[in-house]
Amino acid sequence: MTRHWTDRLSDYLDGHLPDGDRALLEAHLRVCDECQETLDDLRRLVARAHAAAERPIPADLWPGIAALIGSGGSTSPVIDLGPERVRRRWSFTLPQLAAAAVLLVALSAGGAWLAIHGGVTNATSPVAVAPSMPGIRPASASLPVGAEMSYDTAIQELQRALDAGDNHLAPRTVQVLRNNLARIDTAIVEARRALEADPGNAYLNAHLARTMRQKIDLMRQAATLANAES
């Protein structure tokens, strides 16, 4: 095993090696058991990480989310997410985007549940960064917890923009959007309630910030699409 080849195993695994380098590495793998074993371990690790993304989320949320993500929504605006995304290869319609926002909130809520029940300490978080919505440029930082006045202002402005463009979206899209925004609101209320009991919990604080950010991102995208249709 050489460092030169070991350092390229992740690129190989992810399909990022140029053709020539890939052929050379594959030739090396045929004669180097140690590199092959390392590659097998990395492959198992990545599979395990993928499985971690599919952890069960609160049962009451999942059926609706799964149904919405699976639904066609062909009359809705489509956001192209690019062909290379590993597990989000498809394009999202606005209802699917709304469902995915709730899914991300629910996944974060799963971590919050662990935080409340002792699975996560105050010092660490199982998800270190709040990913923003697929298809939406992620924010560079989480919404600062406590900045609720600016959050409320942002929500009011987005709500006005969304109301102005509402009639340009398909009725079903509007219904799905409003239902999912209501679910996010519920998650925000629950997160605030949990924080009252444990105000110093780092994960809960991050979860609330993530959830509020999801709402802003979803409303911003919806308002943009609604007004683009006008």
């Binding site: 070991t6 195993l9 990480a49």
Partner: protein, 58 residues
């Protein structure tokens, strides 16, 4: 050791990149944009994170 315990042992930056790429499915270009890194840095940090996790989980 389970994966979450192993993740907790990683430096913050490496953990963020591993979670974003291997758990959440973000591309290196997106991670680089999100975290203000070069794409190559995201790739090399991901590899370091994976190798460290492999060692923790052995």
């Amino acid at each position: 050791m389970d994966l979450e315990d192993a993740l907790a042992q990683l430096p913050d930056g490496a953990r963020q990149i591993f979670v974003l790429h291997d758990v959440e499915g973000y591309r290196h270009e997106e991670i680089a944009d999100l975290l203000g890194l070069a794409t190559g840095t995201s790739k090399s940090q991901l590899h370091r994170a994976r190798m460290a996790l492999r060692a923790y989980l052995a």
